[in-house]
């Protein structure tokens, strides 16, 4: 029987990370180092947020063999709703945001109902929503731009944690990581399992701590870490945990990998898909709020074409459209690749024509590399 080459498997896992590094190096060279400056990197991460947050949820959706084409419209709708309530109706920001979030969850519930309980393909349900909520955005904004937002609202997208606080948060992140790492090790030893030799394990922990520390270092060097970026990372950590460690997350993978086997193993597929879409509605809403806050305005065209960026990011990150495979970490890398291309080519003043063409080619190439390294010895 064919054994998969283990080393190949491992390399595949990091292909996109390697691609990201390569892209960064190229842009650094082409822009005489502007690209890699702390200021630009900080911007790059802020630009990643809107797509990145949704890509986190989209990964889970695609893992279950579903898709959501409505995220751009829904994000715009939720943002417009919040802006409308806060600016036009004069509601307090927290109320407006809370209602908008509930709206996002409600839209997710609507999707879940049609997809899980009425068996309408997700592609169609969300294609319909893409139109419906684009229409709703036009309705709420009456075709104009709602601006400016309150300071508190804007903060979600524009404010930065002060450098000092950023250092504290960074330190906490390193400590939390190190704690989790060695707690896991201790538990494994408790069960009598083999663990990585201690020196090697410490080295690994040090390396990852170093990555976390330098990330925060770069942010601090600029102006501190942005609320939005922090939010995205927090969501990524939470959803990574959900996808790998919870019954819910595990069942999502099984549903995508083999729905019949999952159902016969006692997985309630309908409930799981429903829950997933409700949660995803919430995630989309968060992204919509961040997007609106960053622009300091709700516009009619906000989020247009975003669903394609999100799906591209997810797929570049190694999520299989056939279901059952994909990681949150990969989705973030994918979102970063997409944002890096935008950012880098803008710095180089690349003609917008070529920007689209290059992004398309990269998507194609990325998925091909993934497929080519996946099967066959």
């Amino acid at each position: 029987m064919a054994m998969k080459g283990y080393s190949l498997e491992h390399i595949r896992k990091y292909t996109m990370l390697i691609a990201l590094v390569a892209i960064w190096l190229l842009f650094t060279v082409f822009t005489d180092g502007v690209f890699i400056s702390p200021r630009n990197l900080s911007n790059l991460f802020v630009q990643t947020v809107a797509v990145g947050i949704i890509a986190i949820g989209m990964t889970l959706v695609i893992i279950t063999r579903n898709i959501d084409l409505s995220v751009g419209s829904v994000a715009a709708f939720v943002g417009a709703l919040a802006a409308f309530l806060q600016v036009k109706m004069g509601w307090p920001t927290s109320f407006a945001i809370a209602v908008a979030l509930v709206g996002g969850l409600g839209i997710g519930f609507w999707h879940g109902f049609w997809i899980a309980y009425r068996m309408v393909p997700a592609f169609i349900v969300t294609l319909a929503s893409m139109m419906i909520f684009r229409g709703a955005v036009l309705g709420i904004t009456e075709g104009t731009t709602i601006a400016p937002l309150s300071q508190a609202f804007r903060a979600i997208g524009q404010r930065y944690l002060s450098p000092h606080l950023s250092i504290v948060v960074g330190a906490l992140a390193v400590i939390a990581y190190a704690f989790a790492h060695f707690y896991k090790r201790k538990r494994r030893t408790g069960y009598g399992f083999k663990v990585t030799p201690l020196p090697l394990d410490i080295l690994k922990a040090l390396l990852i701590s170093l990555v976390i520390a330098s990330f925060f270092g770069i942010m601090v060097h600029n102006r501190g870490i942005s609320y939005a970026v922090l939010l995205m990372l927090l969501l990524a950590v939470i959803f990574n945990f959900i996808s790998q460690q919870t019954v819910f997350g595990r069942q999502l993978y099984a549903i995508g990998g083999n729905p019949d086997a999952a159902e016969l193993s006692g997985v309630n597929i309908k409930k799981r898909i429903m829950t997933l879409f409700v949660v995803f509605g919430g995630i989309t809403a968060v992204s919509g709020l961040v997007l609106t806050a960053r622009l300091n305005a709700a516009t009619t065209s906000a989020g247009q074409g975003m669903e394609l960026d999100v799906i591209a990011a997810t797929v570049i990150g190694g999520t299989s459209l056939m279901g059952g495979e994909g990681t949150i970490f990969g989705a973030l890398v994918g979102a970063l690749i997409m944002a890096s291309l935008d950012n880098g080519m803008s710095l180089m003043n690349t003609n917008i024509t070529y920007q689209y063409i290059i992004k398309g080619m990269i998507l194609l190439l990325a998925v091909w590399v993934d497929i080519a390294t996946r099967k066959k010895a």
Binding site: M1, A2, M3, K4, G5, L8, R187, R188, G190, Y191, F193, Q245, T246, V247, F248, R250, Q251, Y253, A254, G257, N258, D260, A261, A262, E263, L264, S265, G266, V267, N268, G324, E325, A377
Partner: protein, 503 residues
């Protein structure tokens, strides 16, 4: 002309870390039926993939000679052109297309891209006649049973002027009668001069139709013998490299109280127009209850309907240890202590892309979780335990299920259900398509479970299996039980009598 139509010599094929074929020699005479046997993982499928160009020339070492001419196939198309046709275990037919369309698919009779349907009909009709299938050619393929589909696949191969027909486990999904018919057709084709390579785990069939037999073990050719030189025991010992004293390890069981009872169970599904009518039966603790019958008798549907996985209208009552239960879905049934290992492990049993560990824990995640968070250490512990207990052969429990042999996959499915610690375990065709060695291991596991007091139902279309391991046998025919036999009084003839509707 040489006596041999096909000679493969010195075939070696390596995958990273594994030598799947090691200097294999395989020669087939013109017009014979040549059986290729061996345990799962012995290299039969790999060898056929080399022959058919799935693994193109250059990725293996060795020579393929067809009609005294060395061939270096780069693709399946090229091997087809040389007259090699493989009929796969999983049929490569398009369900929505008609019988004629399927036969002509890939080899359409057309002028300037426009299909000549009249010619196609005539051509398809000719090969269908050759395989003895008389049906309306414009019906979609899905109207046919598995056995008939098998024949269509063979007809399709014949239509491409196949001279070497390779059949990979053709009878695995067929009932006794259908298999019998297929074997007759093969004999007839042999008389027409078609050469056939026949891969099967059903040794009885091998002895019935093969002229010569080649045995592979661990990627090496063990021997090629005339059928007359061998008997079943000799063949098995060549396959496994050791003497198997008893394929069916029977142990005396002492049946206890009734653990599971089904009363007046009626299921109807208008979609496929199948009915289970008023079925009642009892299962005791520590007994193996066999359910025999022809394929399509409704045994699988009965099992699936208990899990609410099949059937739109279900009525009847279920009792577990004397208490009435009414599971609404598979999760409920598992919660009550009923487990079902279904017949099609790839379709219903495994999440192929996931590793052994996750497949084993899938039905028991709640057990090893606290506050919905899975305790991965408990998961590893359980997976290690069951994979050791069932002797699953894999480098680690992190191996993906898709990389395992059929027997090991089946063991993973069993491990999954053992982990749910069932009171009632329903095994639907537990040894389909797996090798003799793994079969015996699975029978041993079943015996052990029975000793622990689990009530077991074995659904099997292999009569010798039902007779070999069950304590009591229920025979189903068209959705009804037509007979009940104690194993002491049961014979293949009696079972067949009830299975074909005798009263």
């Amino acid at each position: 002309m040489s006596e041999y139509i096909l000679e493969m010599t010195g075939i070696t094929k390596e995958f990273p870390g594994v030598r799947a074929l090691d200097n294999v020699t395989f020669s087939v005479k013109r017009g014979e039926i040549h059986a290729l046997v061996g345990e799962n993982g012995a290299g039969k499928s790999t060898l056929m993939k080399v022959l058919s160009g799935v693994y193109p020339a250059g990725t293996y070492d060795g020579k393929i000679i067809i009609d005294e001419e060395e061939k270096r196939f780069k693709s399946i198309k090229e091997s087809e052109r040389a007259g090699v046709a493989i009929i796969y275990q999983e049929l490569a037919l398009v369900k929505q297309l008609s019988i004629t369309e399927n036969i002509c698919l890939g080899d359409e009779i057309a002028a300037n891209g426009v299909i000549d349907w009249d010619e196609s009909f005539v051509k398809a009709g000719k090969v269908l006649k050759q395989v003895g299938l008389y049906v309306n050619q414009s019906f979609p393929i899905s109207y046919l049973g598995v056995g008939e589909q098998q024949l269509v696949a063979i007809a399709k191969a014949l239509s491409k002027d196949a001279r070497i027909l390779v059949l990979d486990e053709p009878t695995a999904a067929l009932s006794g009668g259908e298999a019998e018919k297929l074997l007759e057709i093969l004999k007839k084709l042999r008389a027409d001069g078609v050469t056939c390579i026949y891969i099967s785990h059903r040794l009885k069939e091998v002895f019935e139709i093969a002229d010569r037999i080649t045995i592979l073990r661990d990627g090496k050719t063990v021997a090629t013998r005339e059928r007359k030189e061998l008997d079943e025991n000799k063949l098995i010992s060549l396959m496994v490299g050791r003497e198997l004293t008893n394929v069916y390890p029977r142990k005396p069981h002492t049946a206890g109280d009734v653990v599971f009872e089904v009363k007046d169970w009626t299921v109807y599904d208008p979609d496929i127009n199948k009915t289970i009518a008023d079925v009642s039966f009892k299962l005791r603790k520590g007994e193996i209850l066999g359910m025999a019958g022809l394929v399509g008798a409704g045994r699988t549907e009965l099992a699936m309907s208990l899990f609410r996985f099949w059937g739109r209208h279900v009525s009847g009552r279920l009792f577990l240890e004397g208490k009435e239960i009414s599971p609404r879905d598979a999760g409920d049934a598992i919660g009550f202590g009923i487990s079902l290992a279904s017949e099609d492990r790839k379709r219903y049993g495994l999440v192929l892309a996931e590793d052994i560990k996750r497949n084993i824990s899938l039905a028991s995640l709640k057990k090893i979780a606290s506050h919905a968070v899975v305790n991965e250490n408990e998961e590893i512990k359980s997976a290690e335990k069951y994979s050791a207990e069932l002797r699953i052969k894999a480098p680690s429990i992190e191996q993906a299920a898709e990389n395992l042999s059929g027997g090991n996959q089946q063991k993973v499915v069993l491990a999954k259900w053992l982990m749910t610690t069932p009171k009632v375990l329903i095994l639907d065709e537990p040894t389909r398509g797996i090798d003799v060695g793994a079969k015996v291991e699975i029978y041993n596991i079943i015996n052990e479970l029975v000793d622990r007091g689990v009530g077991i139902i074995v659904i099997s279309s292999e009569l010798s299996e039902v007779l070999g391991i069950c304590d009591r046998i229920l025979v189903m025919h068209e959705g009804k039980f037509t007979g009940e036999l104690k194993v002491e009084e049961a014979t293949q003839e009696k079972i067949m009598y009830y299975a074909t509707g005798g009263k």
